[in-house]
Structures are given as structure tokens and as C-alpha cells.
């Protein structure tokens, strides 16, 4: 937390919880008897509930997208650069909702929650949830908040896939869609990286097939490795090169396997921090949700057909050095929308920061995003008039 709260911050925020007693049928065929969703909101919902913006989070994200929980917090929420008064998602205009997805480990029902059937935590028995399941549960939360139609639904990476799914599943419930640094489906290479990450976790002797809590252990080594692998795919060769190069932690090479290069130290640090902060079962199921996402598969692989019944304007954004979900994947999506004659704009933002760029400040990204959201706002006020 900075010494004084900046005027562009949403300030101190408190998560809320909504409980759903109705069972939720999942794509995998199983059913969740009931569930809780933890979420945050910023800004004020207007009288006709037309100014809501849903922000969808990525793989290791959560509901804390902006502002601070505590005056002692070192860092604000994960998308604070783009949510707040005067920012791209302007909280003076919009009521922003961000939900921790089902299966998560930040408060919403997930592997760490109690399974009512056993009285124990779900652990690995928690059903695999998909992007579609998340969208259904988010829609239930929207009902609860009295939001029939979002002014916009936005998200980056896995969050962008949820936006896409919303536009397909609930075409009448969003007025605008911003899909950032995402892809209409994972490539073999993407799935391969996920599989290595999963194997790292599952082969950790402390994993115990996911029942680590019952064994009083934590698969920290596996989760650390998984995060290290993931982290490499979030950065670009260029950004790693400029940030770490071949810099050494030590004065000279020590001909051993302890940390020598700065980049090793960085990855280990990131991995260690993540291994105690995140739940391994959640990480596993989130990577599966990524792998399974492929809305075109229901239409013989024809993405245009999958998107033919969407009704909102789309903004598709990619970043030049993103090789996890490369610009070509976003272009594929934009082209499919264009073929379907759906309203779509596409921008490829110049950034050296790889996939992570979607979280970072960038003048052009901000200009594009702000222009889109401002137009969304004016459309909203025009409709109301």
C-alpha cells in the first residue's frame, strides 16, 4: 500500500460471499449440490443495473482485481492498472464485479472446501469444472446481484476465454466483450506445457493422489516446478533477457547446482512463493479447464459457426511478444468473428513483456481499452435515454 491512497485507486475493498443452495449441473456430468462464490465489487450499480462490468480472472487469479484489502498490503489487486476512477474500466461509470471461480482456492467452493457428502474436504474428488461451468455460476451470481445484462464482460488469458463463452452461452446478457491475450483453443504446445506442470505436481511424493491434506503434507516441490514452467511461458525471451540476461548471483561460477544465474533465483523465488500460496488441486483443475476449452468443437471445428449467434461487439487484443497465446490466435478469433459478420475490432499491442503484458501498464493498450470501454459507456447511456 502506498503512503497515501492514489485518487485513481478504488481504495480499500472487502470481498463478499454469496451462497447458492441450488445444485449446479456441470459439463463433466456431475453435480455440485450447492456452492459459494467469493467476489469483489468496485463502483456503484446504477438504478437500472445497466452499468455492470464483469471481470474474469486467469489461471492463478482471483476475485481481488483492484484496490487494497488492507493498509499494509504491498500490492493492489491484479488488474489495478486498468480498474479504478479514470482508468480504462472507470469505476466512476461502471460497477465492476470480479468473482473467484469455482474450484478456486481463494474462498469460492473448491478442492479445499468441505464435501457435504463426506464431511471432509473435497480434495482431488472435486469435479473438474470447465469454462462453461464458470460462466453458468457467474450468471447465477449476476442474477443474485440483479444484473440482467452486463455493459461489458472483460478478461485476459483464461479470463478472455470466459468472456468468449459468455458471448456464446448468454448472447443477450452482455452488451460488449473484451477478449485480451486469449485464444479460441489451446494448441498442442500449450497443452504440453500444462501437462508437464501437472506431472510435476502429481509426481511429487507429497501429493498423495491429491489427498495431501489428509496426509498432513503439501506438494510444494511439484507446485513450485509447475509454477516455474508456467512462469517461463508468461514472459518473453526478450523480457527475460533484459531483466536477467546472464547475470550471476555469485561473484563467479561455482561449478555446482546451487543458484548461480539471476534467472534461476527469480524462478525459484516465484515458484516457492506460489507453492505455499496456491492449492495444487486447484492448479490441476484450472489447467484442465484451459485444455478443454474449445467452443468450435461443437460445430465441427468451425469457430465462425460457434460465434454466429453472439450479439455483442468484441474487442480482441493481443501482444506482439506473447508466445503463450500468440497474436495469431487472437487474429484467428477476430477473423472468425469477421467471417460470421459479427462486430469486432482487433488490436495487436507492441509490448516486450510476453503474455504477462495483459496485466501491465502500456500506453497503447490503455488507449485502445479505454476507447472501447468509453464507447460501451456512451452506448449504455444512449440506450437508457
Amino acid at each position: 500500500m502506498p503512503d497515501t491512497m492514489p485518487s485513481t485507486s478504488v481504495g480499500l475493498v472487502t470481498p463478499r460471499t454469496e451462497t447458492f443452495e441450488t445444485p449446479l449441473a456441470l459439463a463433466c456430468g456431475k453435480e455440485l449440490p450447492g456452492f459459494e462464490l467469493v467476489y469483489e465489487t468496485y463502483g456503484e450499480l446504477n438504478a437500472d443495473a445497466s452499468n455492470a462490468v464483469l471481470v474474469c480472472h486467469a489461471l492463478s487469479g482471483h476475485h481481488h482485481a483492484a484496490g487494497y484489502h488492507d493498509l499494509e498490503d504491498r500490492k493492489p489487486g491484479w488488474w489495478d492498472a486498468y480498474i479504478g476512477p479514470g482508468k480504462s474500466i472507470d469505476t466512476r461509470r461502471f460497477f465492476v464485479v470480479c468473482v473467484n471461480n469455482l474450484g478456486g482456492c481463494h474462498g469460492s467452493t473448491g478442492p479445499q472446501s468441505i464435501n457435504p457428502a463426506t464431511g471432509q474436504n473435497w480434495g482431488p474428488a472435486f469435479p473438474l469444472v470447465t469454462v462453461e461451468d464458470w460462466v453458468h455460476s457467474q450468471a447465477m451470481l449476476a442474477d443474485r446481484l440483479g444484473i440482467e445484462r452486463f455493459a461489458a464482460i472483460v478478461g485476459g488469458s483464461l479470463g478472455g476465454m470466459q468472456v468468449l463463452q459468455w458471448a456464446i452461452t448468454y448472447p443477450d446478457r452482455l452488451a460488449n466483450a473484451a477478449v485480451i491475450a486469449a485464444t479460441p483453443k489451446l494448441s498442442a504446445q500449450n497443452i504440453a506445457f500444462n501437462e508437464v506442470a501437472r506431472q510435476a505436481i502429481r509426481s511429487d511424493p507429497d501429493f498423495h493422489d491429491g489427498w495431501y491434506e489428509q496426509h498432513g503434507t503439501l506438494p510444494k516441490r511439484g507446485l513450485k516446478l509447475a509454477r516455474m514452467i508456467g512462469h517461463i511461458t508468461y514472459l518473453s525471451e526478450h523480457s527475460m533477457g533484459t531483466r536477467f540476461g546472464r547475470d550471476l548471483r555469485t561473484d563467479s561460477l561455482n561449478y555446482g547446482y546451487d543458484v548461480e544465474f539471476e534467472v534461476e533465483s527469480y524462478l525459484r523465488y516465484q515458484g516457492d512463493a506460489f507453492s505455499t500460496r496456491f492449492d495444487a488441486n486447484t492448479y490441476l483443475l484450472m489447467t484442465k479447464a484451459l485444455d478443454y476449452f474449445d467452443p468450435a468443437s461443437l460445430h465441427q471445428g468451425d469457430l465462425s459457426k460457434a460465434l454466429a449467434h453472439t450479439r455483442c461487439p468484441f474487442l480482441i487484443v493481443s501482444f506482439t511478444t506473447d508466445w503463450r497465446f500468440a497474436p495469431a490466435r487472437s487474429r484467428e478469433l477476430a477473423n472468425a468473428l469477421m467471417r460470421a459478420k459479427r462486430p469486432v475490432s482487433y488490436a495487436n499491442i507492441d509490448s516486450p513483456f510476453g503474455h504477462d503484458a495483459f496485466l501491465l501498464p502500456n500506453d497503447r493498450y490503455e488507449a485502445v481499452f479505454t476507447a472501447f470501454m468509453t464507447r460501451a459507456y456512451h452506448d449504455m447511456t444512449r440506450r437508457a435515454a
Binding site: A334, M338, R339, P343, S345, A347, A371, R375, D379
Partner: protein
């Protein structure tokens, strides 16, 4: 409104599906959607143009025209428009074929290099013309394929495309009678309506 835009507006049918190559700030598409109820997209590479399009709600795709239109299917549009972009392309001839692949009809506007002021400038000064329509010096100009009204007619003939209408723009003014009679001499902007 720009003189060439006014002419283009007359040629675009009501409710057409339109592709605007090098759409700039989206002004033409915006006007067409309001006055002619068209749908469609602009392709643009300039970041400021793209942001301006987004701000006015014109659908724009960031795309380099020199890479072709291979992301667009045959006959995907009713009309393809290109204003003041032909002369900056690496291969205007290939683009012309591409335009008439993705639509049956295209409208192209470009600066007429044979405009009398350009001829006079070159003739008197012995230097590459610099004018309101061609504001750059020869070394920093994006216009790498300047041509004349006549040159373009020849290209269309060679490639087997039919010019069904033509007009000249004369700066911001109404077209002068002299330009109607001698377009290659008095037309500052050449505007063609072409079908395959």
C-alpha cells in the same frame, strides 16, 4: 466532407457489407453506417487511427495491407473501398485482384500524379511535386507507387477488370467542369468504381 468521400457515398448501395482498406480514423465507415446503414470493417495499421475507430464505434482490424487479404473469403463483402492507400502499397496490382476477389465491386481513390499542378511543378522546378495532395518530399514519402488516371485505367484493362464509373475529386471543392472533361489533367484525386 472530403470531396472523394462524397463521391464514394453515392456509389455505395444501401445496407451493403463494406470493407474499407486503410480506413484511417473510420470517418468514411462511420458516415456510411449512418447515412447508408452499411455494415462492415476497416483495416488499418496506424495505432492512432485504430483508437479513433474504436472511439467512434467503427469496427477496425489491425492488419498490414501488404500482407494481402488471405484472412478474408471470396465474396465476403459487397464493396471494398480503398482511399489514399493504393499508392503506399508494395504491389497495387496484386491488391486490386485481391479486392475484386473478396467483393464483386471496389471503389478506389488515389492522388492523380498527372494533375496539372504536379505537371507544372515538375516541369518548372525540375523537382518531384509537393502539393496539398502529395505533401511529402521524395525521400520520406509513403507514396511508393504514384500513378495517373490513365495509368490506372491501363492496369484495370490489363487485369481484365471493368471500370463502371469514374470521377475526379478536386481538393475540397466541387468538381470543376474542366476536370470532368480532362480528368487526367485537372483531376486531383482519381476515383474509380470497378467490377470484375
Amino acid at each position: 466532407m472530403r470531396a472523394d468521400f462524397a463521391q464514394i457515398m453515392r456509389w455505395v448501395p444501401e445496407q451493403a457489407h463494406v470493407l474499407d482498406l486503410g480506413c484511417g480514423d473510420g470517418m468514411l465507415l462511420d458516415t456510411l453506417s449512418r447515412d447508408k446503414h452499411i455494415t462492415g470493417y476497416g483495416l488499418e495499421i496506424d495505432p492512432e487511427g485504430i483508437t479513433a475507430c474504436l472511439a467512434r464505434g467503427v469496427d477496425v482490424m489491425e492488419q498490414d495491407l501488404d500482407g494481402g487479404l488471405d484472412n478474408i473469403g471470396d465474396d465476403a463483402f459487397d464493396v471494398v473501398i480503398m482511399t489514399q492507400a493504393l499508392q503506399v502499397l508494395r504491389r497495387p496490382d496484386l491488391m486490386l485482384d485481391e479486392m475484386l476477389r473478396v467483393a464483386r465491386e471496389c471503389i478506389i481513390a488515389f492522388p492523380n500524379f498527372a494533375y496539372w499542378r504536379h505537371r507544372l511543378y515538375l516541369g518548372l522546378n525540375g523537382r518531384m511535386p509537393v502539393s496539398r495532395a502529395l505533401p511529402h518530399e521524395w525521400y520520406d514519402t509513403p507514396n511508393i507507387h504514384l500513378s495517373t488516371f490513365k495509368d490506372f485505367r491501363r492496369l484495370c484493362d490489363q487485369q481484365g477488370h471493368r471500370i463502371i464509373d469514374q470521377a475526379v475529386g478536386n481538393g475540397h471543392h466541387q468538381t470543376h467542369w474542366s476536370a470532368e472533361r480532362w480528368p487526367n489533367l485537372f483531376g486531383q484525386t482519381a476515383i474509380f468504381r470497378i467490377q470484375r
